[in-house]
Symmetry: C2
Subunit: 239 residues, 2 copies
DNA sequence: CGGAATGTTGAGACTAGTCAACCATAGTGG
DNA sequence: CCACTATGGTTGACTAGTCTCAACATTCCG
């Protein structure tokens, strides 16, 4: 797909890297060739990282191949600060560059204060949310953005299969959150309603009729079944 | 600007809150009316915050008034995690909502492990960078994005007045970082060159001729002197 | 020198923004 | 109870900026 991400075929995961290891920071220092992958999407989160020399990038792909570079990391920058069990971002060396590895176990052992570990967890979780947010803002159409927003709200509000969302914020807030104009937000709400994805009993009340279709739109999975061409059967939603 | 001293009438002390809600902090709980500000851009960063009830938003404005909502915070979310001495984001209540206040001093005292405090600092700094990044992606034209990118690189590379940047990454990386197509990046480089803002001795080498003009463009300060109408005097740049 | 990868330029299409008018709702006061 | 108003939301027409596709240029490297 992208030539950039093809430099790393056949490379071992970080745990198996046979490269020169220099002790530092209670950890290990490893060098990477240009384009080489440090961790990839889906890898288990075993370590934090800190750049020693050179340039790294954090990238992410939508299911249909659109690419977003989330950050460039220069010496001194931390990365790999992801709160969940697997990495969402792929971290790669841009040029020949060096990284210090900090095993998470060791960090956890040293962080025995409850408030501070909650703070740290909060910061990394905010970062993870922001990755999603930026991915969406950088690479999505208006429909995808609003679908993403509604799907996120539904997920946060608990797991009903056809949730009803009470929107606390007004259209302007949604627009500024999604990087759209208020008119486009309004038009897209109407579009979703006409298409039978949602119901709008009041302006601030959204009943999600087809969470699956919204979620597919939100995931920017354009290779999935073509949602925008599906017809809506009124009798199905009227129930 | 600070609303912290108001609206705590009749609220339980944080120790009296149900344990399931939020872990116990030695802090204060304060309620806010709809639209009320918790902290504003430029306020000194004295506290961290954690949402107890209701909805908050973090917003930011460009100098010329474009608005970006950076996040919505729901109960349990931390906010105010900014690394510098003053807040960049304004945090406001969306509806009537409640916040726990965590004095930073107290948190610092409890975080006496060097590695962990560096990690935490790294996480909050990553968040701050991401605020800028998202602000840019959500609300800027192609010219503003590239100007922002070059200005950031120049700032990172040290403070020469007319810096020369060696770009380690290729056009595709820049495009995916800025949320643009590679063609638009290329066109905008050419535009900057034609306008005398930069020189491009090689494709990967950028000599910044007018850092001030680039920085104004980057700040999205459209009320400033109209850069895009200024003419370039060739003799000035030929030197 | 040739080929591949990277970068630039051009033409046309299309999405979302802007401006303007209109509609809905809730609150207010006579 | 009904105008009246303010705010928030919707819709339409037009425009502008960016993407896409395509061709071409440049650089790098064997």
């Amino acid at each position: 797909m992208y030539a950039l991400s093809h430099h790393n075929e056949g490379l071992p995961a970080i745990g198996a890297l046979p490269v020169t290891c220099v002790p530092c920071f209670n950890g290990t220092v490893i060098s990477f060739a240009s384009g080489e992958e440090v961790v990839g999407t889906g890898d288990p989160t075993k370590n934090y990282f800190r750049v020693i020399r050179g340039l790294f990038r954090a990238v992410n792909f939508t299911p249909d191949g659109r690419r977003q570079v989330f950050a460039f990391y220069t010496p001194g920058d931390f990365c790999g600060l992801e709160p969940d069990g697997t990495h969402q971002l792929t971290i790669e060396a841009v040029d020949c560059a060096t990284m210090a590895i900090l095993p998470r176990d060791a960090c956890r052992l040293r962080m025995n204060d409850e408030v501070n570990s909650a703070l740290f967890e909060g910061a990394t979780r905010a970062l993870a949310l922001t990755i999603d947010h930026m991915m969406m803002i950088g690479r999505s159409s208006a429909e995808e953005r609003l679908a993403w927003f509604l799907t996120m709200l539904a997920a946060r509000s608990g797991g009903s299969r056809a949730p009803v969302l009470q929107l606390a914020m007004q259209r302007q807030d949604i627009a500024d959150y999604l990087g759209l104009s208020i008119e486009t937000v309004s038009r897209t709400f109407t579009l979703f309603k006409d298409r039978g994805l949602i119901n709008l009993p009041h302006k601030r009340l959204v009943q999600i009729l087809r969470p699956d279709a919204l979620a597919r739109l939100a995931a920017a999975d354009r290779d999935a079944s073509p949602i925008h061409l599906e017809l809506w059967e009124p009798e199905a939603a009227a129930a």
